[in-house]
């Protein structure tokens, strides 16, 4: 900031860096464990006598289904996000800009259903998906994820914050709502859409319980539950699972690091902050 560095500032910077290292220490540990034989999984970071090995990575990468899992996950995430964006943007536009009867009541009802934790409906979901024959397909993850009220609220709030003059000018030009939405709202909502994409990506990528319950075939599984295929007698094969987790994290971290800016912007301009 042009000012000379004060001692206080240096101390502050150092403290922040130490905190940052503490925050990623578990992550470092995860990577470290992924290079060990399973008998040594729980030794400390620099313990003597640790045999480092690439065997775990080999086991993950050479697993006949590893790329299936990766592909399934990417496809699921992509399809979910596309469907989610399409239907949510339309609904958010209607809720923020159009007047129709029952609007407030419908929105309030949707918000109320957010209170139902997924865990409490896993039984009925299982029984129901079985009846409509989407168990064992990726649709059992995609379709229920598509309509997430949280993102509807986020986008509705964001659209409400777009000044009214824009739309009025457009409607005087005789533009229909479809045009207003695609020509004005979507281009203006870059950060909010980026935020939706990122949060969706992270949540679906790390979803464990739903794919675990609803998908049986090994070639159909998603990456997070699929890591549980790496077992040995007596329990999980920790180092191999850690190796798999590290590999699974790569796309998320890349996405996160490169879009961090939008992330904050998106949240800032969208409604979440209040």
């Amino acid at each position: 900031m042009g000012k000379p560095l004060k001692k206080k500032d240096i101390v502050f910077t150092v403290v922040m860096w130490i905190l940052a290292i503490l925050m990623i220490y578990p992550f470092i540990m995860m990577v470290a464990i992924s290079f060990r034989p399973s008998g040594q999984a729980y030794m400390s970071l620099f313990a003597p006598g640790i045999l480092y090995t690439l065997r775990n990575y080999k086991e993950v990468l050479f697993h006949p289904n590893f790329f299936d899992w990766y592909r399934n996950t990417i496809v699921t995430v992509a399809v979910t996000i596309i469907i989610r964006l399409c239907i949510t943007i339309m609904a958010a536009y209607a809720f923020s800009r159009l007047r129709f009867r029952g609007k407030a009541a419908i929105l309030a009802f949707l918000v109320a259903t957010m209170m139902v934790p997924g865990e409490t409906t896993m039984v009925p979901r299982y029984l129901y998906f079985q009846q409509i024959h989407i168990l064992n397909t990726l649709w059992s993850i995609v379709l229920p994820e598509a309509s997430e009220v949280f993102y509807l609220i986020l986008l509705t709030e964001f659209f409400s914050s777009i000044p009214g003059d824009f739309t009025e000018a457009a409607s005087i030009d005789g533009a229909g709502h479809g045009t207003v939405l695609t020509r004005i709202f979507i281009p203006l909502s870059g950060p909010a859409i980026a935020t939706t994409i990122l949060f969706s990506f992270i949540n679906i990528w790390n979803n464990f319980l739903d794919p675990y319950l609803f998908i049986n075939r090994i070639s159909m599984q998603l990456i997070t539950p699929a890591l549980q295929f790496f077992q040995e007698q007596g329990g999980a094969n920790m180092p191999v699972q850690m190796a798999g987790s590290s590999l699974a994290l790569i796309p998320v971290i890349i996405l996160f690091v490169f879009t961090q800016k939008y992330f904050v912007q998106g949240v800032a301009s969208a409604g979440i902050k209040g």
Partner: protein, 296 residues
């Protein structure tokens, strides 16, 4: 076109636009909720009774409400949520405030703070079991340097649940930091400058500028955290598995066990319904509190 005609047209378009969302929602989200509600009144409580089942009214509810294990899990869920929410609200805010200051490598440090959020919970669980291991984990090694033995964390019946709650909260911290940071950026710079001129201390600035500005954000976060705090199945399974004994068995775990290990689908659904009612009530109270606070 007449005004009422335009209204009608707008209304039609409105319904048209919300229809895809509502249909998806009704078919894949709402229906399972209703289905669960219905199942909870039937007798699908063993693998044999899945197909030929009878209507039993409130029997499942009575059996859940009189069951000691349910109330125990219920209590655990509340303890988990309280700690989880408190940790996230306090530390999310504090960390956002300090990360908002300028220092060298701020972006890199921020990224470090976001990484736990993207790591999957099972991996987090495995690593934390090592970090908090009483005999060989680094955390207790620090305690031993000061001559204390240090707590037993996950294996202590009193600490397992709070520890799990804090680890789960730690993993979710990024969302709060980001949200608060975003809100902090909206505070006009001149407000700070005025405070600076008047010689306000750091704490005074927090108390009189930052907190009032962030109140709506914090309330919104509170609601979201409240909802998320009950989505704790993966965290608890990854960290404690409900143990030691039953000391960290929360409602989501109970529902899973009853449904999928013991095949008591109706009982599990009844547990889900009761728990949801509870969450709705708590949320009503929060909303009330918010409106009282704001109309002060």
């Amino acid at each position: 076109m007449s005004k009422s005609g335009m209204m009608r047209r707008e209304e039609r378009i409105g319904y048209l636009f919300i229809a895809p969302f509502l249909i998806m929602f009704a078919v894949f989200k709402l229906y399972p909720m209703i289905y669960g509600f219905i199942v909870s009144f039937w007798d699908r409580n063993s693998e044999m009774k899945l197909m030929d089942t009878t209507f039993v009214g409130f029997d499942n509810y009575i059996s859940v409400l009189t069951n000691h294990s349910f109330w125990e899990a219920f209590g655990h869920s509340i303890v988990f949520s309280v700690i989880y929410i408190a940790f996230l609200m306090v530390f999310g805010f504090i960390l956002a405030v300090i990360l908002n200051r300028n220092f060298m490598g701020r972006t890199a440090v921020r990224t470090c703070f976001y990484i736990p959020y993207v790591t999957n919970m099972i991996a987090v669980g495995i690593v934390f079991k090592y970090l908090l291991n009483p005999s060989r984990g680094p955390v207790n090694a620090i305690f031993r340097m000061f001559g204390a033995d240090g707590p037993r964390w996950f294996s202590s019946p009193t600490l397992a649940l709070p520890t799990a709650a804090i680890v789960a909260a730690w993993a979710a911290l990024a969302f709060h930091i980001i949200t608060c940071l975003a809100a902090l950026q909206d505070i006009p710079q001149d407000v700070y400058e005025v405070a600076e001129i008047e010689g306000a201390t750091f704490m005074q600035k927090i108390r009189y500028i930052v907190l009032p500005f962030l109140t709506p954000t914090l309330f919104m976060l509170l609601t979201i955290t409240l909802i998320n705090s009950f989505r704790n199945y993966t965290a608890i399974v990854g960290l404690t598995g409900g143990g030691p004994g039953t000391s960290s068995k929360v409602v989501s775990l109970l529902i899973y066990d009853d449904a999928f290990n013991f095949m008591k689908f109706s009982i599990a659904s009844a547990e889900g319904v009761i728990f949801t009612l509870f969450i709705i009530i708590v949320n009503r109270i929060f909303t009330k509190a918010r409106s009282v606070w704001e109309s002060r």
